[in-house]
């Protein structure tokens, strides 16, 4: 194929890919967008297969089939709460492929590589290897194989900095040398990068996972792009750069949602959950006084019965789902309740915090699984002004994203994070597993507020009971109240 045609073909493939992304503007067209992206990739693979003599077609086909079949089986079986773990694992798979390619290219006949090619090879290998090990840790944390809390080693910051310095030094060396020295330098670089990814991902956990996973998404793209420079394939560079751009946009969006900058977060500069947690719980009023100590109010009603009564009287209800809802698999009951309240003539809306979930947009997927009406989902900016005129803010499995301490107390891990203003609602119903602080370790003063009804326990059970009680006529309430 001559070079002009080749260039035109590459441009066409990229246009198809861009068109695919363009169609991601709306849920109705996104599915065709995904098909277009798949088409673009298939074309790219096709032209490489046609244009280059493949020496061992049997091996190639076998590897393709094995990887593809495994990918299909896993993707067809996992449920929506496991998506972040799956995406993290895929980031790792992408990084792994990139660093293998860069390694083989580097150690194979280096005389053919121009210095830029060699530099890109080193970069691709380092970024790919770090992405791989980082993603595996992230995936293990998200799949709850590992504890989700950050693991901070002694002198963690210094370990990362010295690793980075040594990698830079060795990288420069690897670009300058040739032959066996290059092989050894590459192997050492690979090992150090794997450790870097590991150490780096270990200290990020819980609510910071969306940032980590977006960042790894970006680095996978970068590694692919550098691989493209080494093998001199324009499509590889272009697709990799697009993925990197997407990953960095999402990383930025997540950082903004938590009011932190990327450097701060990745350097774990202000991250001491245990310490700040205990500090704040000393300065704030004890959170469990009202609910845990005296679960029955003066009328002898259980918190659940009071919650039912509050929801029954409300004209406008805003539901605030958090990751706890997903952990309890309660999204189906929550969406059903929203529909039923809507049928009863109440105004029901969902308020979605950008970090309510374990990756960007995760909560929307979880609610979509329960077939929620997408028109009643609102994000923080759209809905925060509506809380003062809301009768009940119904919180399910969320803590940090509604914690007023984020605005009122300085020096906590969530200080300055924009929150959903549930405290402005006339009444607040909290359906959480327990009244412990959220992931950040900062006690939530909302729990102690007199207008808050704390219904502790499994959200799936709680909402099942709410569903049974909500539509009944007022007369039947005492029965319902007695039952609990």
């Amino acid at each position: 194929m001559n070079s002009v045609w080749h260039l035109l073909f590459d441009v066409a493939v990229m246009l198809i890919l861009f068109l695919g992304i363009w169609r991601f503007r709306a849920p109705q067209t996104a599915r065709s967008g995904s098909f277009l992206a798949l088409l673009a990739l298939s074309c790219a693979v096709g032209v490489v297969l046609v244009g280059n003599p493949i020496r061992e077609p049997a091996t190639v086909v076998l590897a393709l089939l094995a990887g593809g079949a495994a990918g299909w089986v896993v993707a067809a079986r996992i449920n929506m709460i496991q998506i972040p773990a799956m995406v993290a694992f895929q980031n790792g798979a992408g990084g792994f492929a990139s660093f293998l390619i860069a390694f083989v290219e580097l150690t194979h006949q280096r005389s053919e590589l121009v210095p830029i090619g060699q530099l890109s090879g080193v970069l691709g290998m380092v970024i790919g290897a770090a992405t791989f090990s980082g993603s595996m840790v992230a995936s293990a944390k998200l799949a709850s194989v590992m504890r989700q809390t950050p693991v901070i080693l002694p002198h963690h910051g210094w370990i990362v900095v010295s690793l980075l310095v040594v990698i830079c030094g060795l990288g420069v060396l690897a670009v300058l040398v040739a032959g066996p020295a290059l092989l050894y330098a590459s192997l050492a670089l690979m090992a150090l990068s794997l450790i870097l990814g590991l150490v780096f991902a270990l200290w990020i956990g819980g609510a910071d996972m969306p940032v980590l996973i977006s960042f790894l998404n970006a680095t996978t793209g970068l590694a692919a792009s550098f691989c493209g420079v080494v093998v001199e394939n324009r499509l590889l560079i272009a697709c990799g750069a697009t993925v990197a751009a997407s990953g960095f946009i999402l990383t930025h969006a997540m950082c903004q949602a938590m009011n932190r900058n990327l450097f701060q977060l990745l350097a774990a500069a202000d991250w001491k959950p245990a310490a700040s947690g205990s500090q704040t719980s000393q300065t704030l009023p004890a959170p469990h006084s009202s609910a845990a100590a005296e679960p029955q109010d003066s009328e002898g009603l259980s918190p659940l019965a009071r919650a039912v009564e509050a929801v029954r009287r409300a004209k406008k209800v805003i539901i605030i789902p958090g990751y706890g809802m997903a952990l309890a698999h309660a999204q189906f009951e929550v969406v059903q309740l929203a529909e039923r309240l809507n049928e009863m003539g109440k105004e029901v809306k969902f308020a979605i915090h950008p970090i309510a979930g374990r990756m960007p947009g995760h909560m929307h997927v979880l609610l979509a699984e329960a077939e929620v009406d997408p028109d009643i989902l609102f994000d923080l900016r759209e809905i925060n002004a509506e809380f003062p005129e809301t009768d009940v803010a119904l919180i399910v499995g969320a803590c940090d994203v509604v914690n007023p301490a984020a605005t009122s107390v300085q020096g906590t891990p969530i200080s300055g994070m924009p929150i959903l203003a549930a405290q402005d609602a006339k009444q607040v119903v909290v359906c959480n597993m327990d009244d412990k602080p959220g992931y950040s370790g900062v006690a939530n003063p909302l729990y102690a507020d007199p207008k808050t009804i704390l219904v502790l326990g499994d959200a799936k059970t709680t909402f099942g009971q709410l569903l049974r009680l909500a539509p009944t006529k007022k007369a039947s309430l005492p029965n319902g109240g007695d039952a609990f």
Partner: protein
């Protein structure tokens, strides 16, 4: 040198166009978007295939084959899961 310039401009143009397009994706589609771009990053499979056009040792072939397998996992898995999610988003509009 011309090649290098071309590659650099490909990198720059794709980053900018990608940035502009992806900024318009609404937050509710961020998970499918990430899953889709993840599948797109399986484009490294091109690099792995190109390795098989070179003269390589058995060891390098083995590494190349695992790169192909992992990239294929990423490609098929990524698009399958993206489609599953988007079908759910679609359902309510039908």
């Amino acid at each position: 040198m011309a090649d290098l310039l071309l590659m650099a401009s490909v990198l720059a143009v794709s980053s900018v166009v990608g940035y502009v397009l992806i900024s318009r994706v609404p937050p509710r589609l961020h998970t499918p978007l990430m899953s889709m771009t993840n599948a797109v990053s399986a484009v490294t499979i091109l690099g792995a295939l190109l390795l098989f056009a070179l003269d390589t040792t058995v060891c390098q072939k083995a590494l190349g084959a695992s790169a192909i397998a992992f990239a294929a996992f990423n490609l098929v898995g990524g698009f399958t899961i993206t489609d599953r999610m988007l079908k759910m988003f679609h359902r309510h509009h039908e």
